[in-house]
């Protein structure tokens, strides 16, 4: 018990004892007043707002504070995101601050051993190592690897330091592993990133189609809002389109199971039916849509140095119809396993002009070797029937992390990106150079490494120094054995800023103790373009320091004081004022900080004091020009959204005689990503203490595997022993197994394949070939 805990404990014991003895003397009389005000009244705590620390939904929370500690949580009824409801992670989120093994001191590896040093000394070591590595190996030998859990200021100063000052585009973030395909999908179809709609679409839609998205566990608060819409609305339907039966399937009105990767064919078959049945909204298509063909047979990124650039060729309606001829429901039934009549039925829902349709998706479509394509194809469906950018008609790409949108996508902490635009565009570089106050030549016009290639470069030795913040790549990288061995090689220097020991801090040369969440002031941006501010509500323990301030301290040691001039008290205000200059236009203007401090989040574009709920819709979006009709897809120079002709192509590794099953990986509602926070929350760890493998009942019977027996999974890259679960949390289809990735003791990513979408460079964690072996013997538990 710390002194603070002891003080709280003693105070409460004294009060309880006094109240108890007093009550026994005079029953039914209140004694609060005699004890000096409220006794143990949770409603008398100080409640302060913050967005949740965990997923991309961005629920508003109220945190109860007592004696400088967070002691309770409730949903913020004022937040339009969650209206007072949370999920089990959110309700227990503040416990993640108080794990007993919190990293509170800096550590530096000396003679192979990590030793505690002052944070000042550790920051000196980091700065000196950056300087010496650049001197010896060039500027592109140092890299920054951050996260969609970076606050907006974290990502902004990282980009400014590496891209603006050091002059390298070696800035990436784990969001590459989680939403890069969503970004390239938006960019190729609309020319601008992030959804056109917002969560309020849920309250207007009649049909929800969930594309490979177990929302009941992954976006539970939005899922409950959808169930509420169905409960109170007339004839509202939820259709689960998935490769695995989950809680979402059971809650849905229909569950359609498809073979891995065949979503590409299904989306085209829906379009085929929309055309064949004349359900296309011809005036919308004529006015607002253009047709493009891209490259095909585009590879899988398995080789080091793989490169691919797509190219758009103009095509017409007739060519599009000819392209769709390959995707009759009967042919697609053969590829996908979904009966042709069900495909026709699904198309009829999209095609019915009387129904508003919202499609949701997340990792199923994004972690996909054709992730960009499947994003394009679902937009095609909505564009053909004109069901887009108006209340309830919404193709909605959900995000995984609390600030994947706010930080990684909007600040642009990816190798090719800048806070506004891309490094390859001179106007964008000029804007960045001007706002940052650096010479234009500082900003390199060539992108360097995307995430997988960055870890390959570390393995090869092209990168010698990497600084990792708020993420745990030694659990999350696919084909993990290669990248861990690479990070451990002689002459590689890894700096890790984190809050708890992880497999990544295990291989670090310097560990910097980080403050987390509301131990610092910061901002997140959620899935619906909502920016959310949180104040510092409690003090960080020990020497813990925000990632923003760590970066600023190192920048100053490298001689960039003038680029990072802010005092600690004013640095968030200063950063926000500077950063928002990048987006100061009607398409992306962001709210001023003083308003963000008061309200539970504000959506951009925020123009003249108004949030924009439906972009591109001339009735809602001040940037949309009515000259183009009801909609103006202003992201593209032709003011049109692009329908792409994207074919079905198979994944790179499919089950064969040696590895006869599919391996799918993912999450559970109780755990956040690699579990470094949620496993330290008692309720969450105790609910799901370890990873396991879900096996289909028929496969298990055939192999003689009983529930909770030990089995072994083997892929070309590694093997792992796990407990088999049959008809437990989810039911994989025959020939498929599923493993959650949160467990650092059972690393399923040692088995996964590092293939990726050639356009987005996002790996596919959902499909590789695996062999299931029976070991026998029940797990002791």
């Amino acid at each position: 018990m710390s002194p603070v805990e002891r003080r709280i404990f003693l105070k409460r014991m004294a009060m309880a004892a006094a109240a108890a003895s007093a009550s026994s003397l005079v029953p039914d009389v209140a004694f609060g007043e005699e004890l000096g005000g409220y006794v143990g009244d949770p409603e008398a705590l100080e409640w302060r707002k913050t967005p949740c620390r965990f997923c991309g939904v961005g629920c508003g929370l109220l945190v109860g504070l007592e004696n400088g500690r967070a002691v309770a949580v409730k949903g913020d009824p004022e937040s339009s995101v969650n209206r007072g409801l949370c999920c089990v992670k959110g309700y227990h989120s503040v416990q993640a601050l108080y794990g007993g093994d919190r990293i509170t001191r800096a550590q530096v590896r000396r003679d192979g051993r990590l030793v505690e040093v002052s944070i000042e000394e550790a920051l000196d070591v980091v700065a000196e190592r950056i300087r010496s590595t650049i001197a010896e190996h060039g500027k592109d030998s140092v890299a920054m690897y951050g996260s969609g859990q970076w606050t907006i200021p974290d990502g902004y100063v990282a980009s400014k330091l590496f891209k603006g000052a050091l002059g390298t585009n070696n800035v990436e973030a784990n969001a590459r592993l989680c939403m890069a395909s969503a970004v390239t999908g938006f960019m190729s179809t609309f020319g601008l990133d992030e959804p056109m709609g917002c969560y309020e679409d849920i309250d207007h839609a009649d049909v929800f189609v969930l594309w490979g998205n177990n929302m009941a566990e992954m976006h539970p608060v939005l899922f409950s809002r959808m169930l509420e819409r169905r409960r109170t609305g007339q004839g509202v339907q939820i259709i689960d389109l998935a490769t695995r039966t989950t809680r979402t399937s059971y809650a849905a009105d229909r569950s359609l199971l498809f073979a891995p990767q065949s979503d590409l064919a299904i989306a085209n078959a829906i379009c085929h039916e929309l055309v064949a049945n004349h359900w296309v909204d011809e005036s919308f298509v004529e006015r607002h849509v253009a047709f493009k063909r891209g490259k095909t047979d585009i590879g899988y990124g398995l080789e080091d140095g793989f490169s691919f650039t797509d190219e758009a060729t103009d095509v017409g309606w007739d060519e599009y119809v000819a392209f769709l001829a390959d995707y009759t429901p009967e042919r697609v039934e053969a590829i996908s396993g979904v009966p042709a009549e069900d495909i026709r039925w699904l198309a009829s829902l999209y095609g019915d002009p009387a129904r508003k349709v919202t499609s949701f998706w997340c990792m199923g479509m994004n972690q996909h070797t054709r992730g960009t394509w499947i994003n394009n194809l679902v937009y095609n469906v909505h564009l053909l029937v004109g069901k887009i950018a108006e209340p309830g008609n919404s193709p909605f790409s959900l995000t995984g992390q609390p600030s994947a949108c706010g930080t990684v996508r909007e600040v642009g902490t990816l190798t090719h990106a800048l806070p506004h635009g891309v490094v390859t565009n001179e106007d964008d570089r000029r804007m960045a150079a001007e706002i940052w106050g650096v010479p234009l030549e500082n900003i390199d016009p060539r992108p360097t490494y995307h995430t997988v290639e960055m870890f390959r470069a570390l393995d090869r030795g092209d990168i010698r120094f990497m600084w990792v913040q708020v993420t745990n790549p030694m659990v999350t990288m696919p084909h993990l054995n290669r990248y861990r061995a690479g990070a451990e090689k002689e002459g590689r220097f890894l700096v890790v800023s984190d809050v708890y020991p992880t497999p990544t801090t295990d291989v670090a040369d310097v560990i910097l103790p980080a403050s987390m969440w509301f131990e610092q002031e910061g901002l997140f941006g959620n899935s619906e373009r909502r920016t959310q501010h949180f104040a510092q509500l409690v003090d960080p323990p020990g020497d813990c320091m925000s990632d923003t301030w760590q970066l600023i301290e190192v920048a100053r040691r490298l001689g960039y004081e003038e680029l990072f001039p802010w005092s600690y008290e004013e640095h968030i205000d200063g950063i926000w004022a500077e950063y928002t200059r990048f987006h100061d236009n009607p398409k992306h203007r962001m709210a001023p900080l003083d308003e963000l401090k008061e309200r539970p989040g504000i959506m951009w574009p925020y123009v003249d004091g108004q949030e924009t709920k439906w972009r591109y819709n001339t009735r809602h979006d001040p940037a949309a020009d009515a000259e183009y009709g009801d909609f103006d897809f202003y992201g593209k120079p032709d003011h049109r959204a692009w329908i792409w002709l994207r074919p079905y192509e198979p994944p790179p590794e499919v089950p064969d005689a040696e590895y006869p099953m599919w391996l799918n990986t993912g999450r559970v509602v109780e755990h956040w990503h690699t579990g470094s926070m949620t496993r330290r929350v008692p309720v969450l760890h105790q609910a799901v203490p370890n990873a396991y493998v879900e096996v289909n009942r028929l496969d298990a019977a055939e192999m003689g595997i009983r529930n909770r027996e030990r089995v072994r999974l083997v892929t070309r890259r590694g093997s792992l022993e796990l407990e088999a679960r049959i008809d437990y949390r989810g039911q994989p289809t025959r020939g498929q197994v599923f493993v959650p990735f949160f467990d650092e003791g059972l690393l399923v990513n040692e088995l996964t394949l590092d293939s990726f979408c050639p356009i987005s460079k996002q790996p596919d964690y959902k499909k590789c070939a695996v062999r299931l072996e029976r070991i026998g013997g029940r797990t002791a538990s």
Partner: protein, 253 residues
């Protein structure tokens, strides 16, 4: 097995009258939001949807007639009941969603069939107990917030300290109705914890036949202590605040 149900609401304090009202206030008007949230060019027919008043939403959501067992019934002898200690042990802090204290069959876990028992309550032979009634049966993704414990171990030690439980039975004077010492969001249905055979013993109401609980029992959430004198601010609104004027938050804990 503990004696506490998964979906019991967290009504503490006092005997609160129990049967529940017939009126519903789930959706209260589109007028609640507005101001800067309203789109620049409102589209007819697609204005803001009504949002429930979250604090009030559940208060009248379960009607006595919806329950499997009359809330005035105390229950059969030998039934395992709920105690306040068990109630608290299932919650990480006052107001936290309780853990699921009983085993779940795998298909129950996958399909979240909780409301089969917890929507209406009733005798559950499997547990030898009355199922507590959910204060918010309109929600059906139960496992979003309520999870079982599959181990008693911790992954790592924790230094977490929870908020204290509120003192029950606070009232202004002898004989006056006690105040409600907790927030009502998600747990405004008094029946769930305070009446019926699954009620928590220490906080069971003496008068479950009275239906309009909040006629007499009002929330006291961080305002002045019940019985404390109201003091009129020395200045009118808009003027300078008096040195010791009420701050709307009360003294704090």
């Amino acid at each position: 097995m503990s004696d506490e149900g998964p979906l019991g609401g967290r009504l503490l304090g006092i005997a609160v009258a129990a049967l529940v009202m017939l009126a519903g206030v789930l959706a209260v008007g589109a007028t609640l939001r507005g101001g800067p949230d309203v789109p620049a060019h409102p589209e007819p027919g697609t204005l803001e949807t009504g949002q429930p008043i979250t604090e009030e939403a559940a208060v009248f959501s379960t009607r006595a007639a919806d329950l499997a067992v009359d809330p005035t019934v105390q229950g059969r002898p030998g039934a395992s009941g709920r105690s306040l200690a068990g109630f608290r042990a299932l919650r990480a802090y006052p107001g936290a969603p309780p853990r699921i204290p009983h085993a779940l069959a795998d298909d129950e876990f996958l399909q979240a069939t909780c409301n089969q028992c917890h929507r209406r309550g009733g005798w559950a032979p499997r547990f030898g107990a009355y199922a507590p009634v959910s204060p918010h049966p309109e929600f059906s993704n139960c496992l979003q917030c309520h999870v079982p414990a599959n181990t008693g171990e911790l992954f790592r030690p924790t230094g977490w300290v929870a908020a204290a439980w509120p003192v029950t039975g606070r009232r202004a004077m002898e004989g006056s109705p006690p105040v409600v010492p907790h927030a009502l969001e998600m747990r405004g249905n008094c029946v769930s914890c305070h009446a019926g055979p699954a009620a928590v013993a220490e906080i069971r109401t003496t008068h479950p036949e009275r239906a309009n609980c909040r006629q007499c029992h009002v929330p006291a959430l961080g305002g002045p202590e019940p019985g404390a004198a109201f003091s009129r601010p020395l200045e009118r609104p808009g003027g300078a605040a008096p040195p010791d004027g009420p701050d709307g938050r009360g003294g704090g804990a």
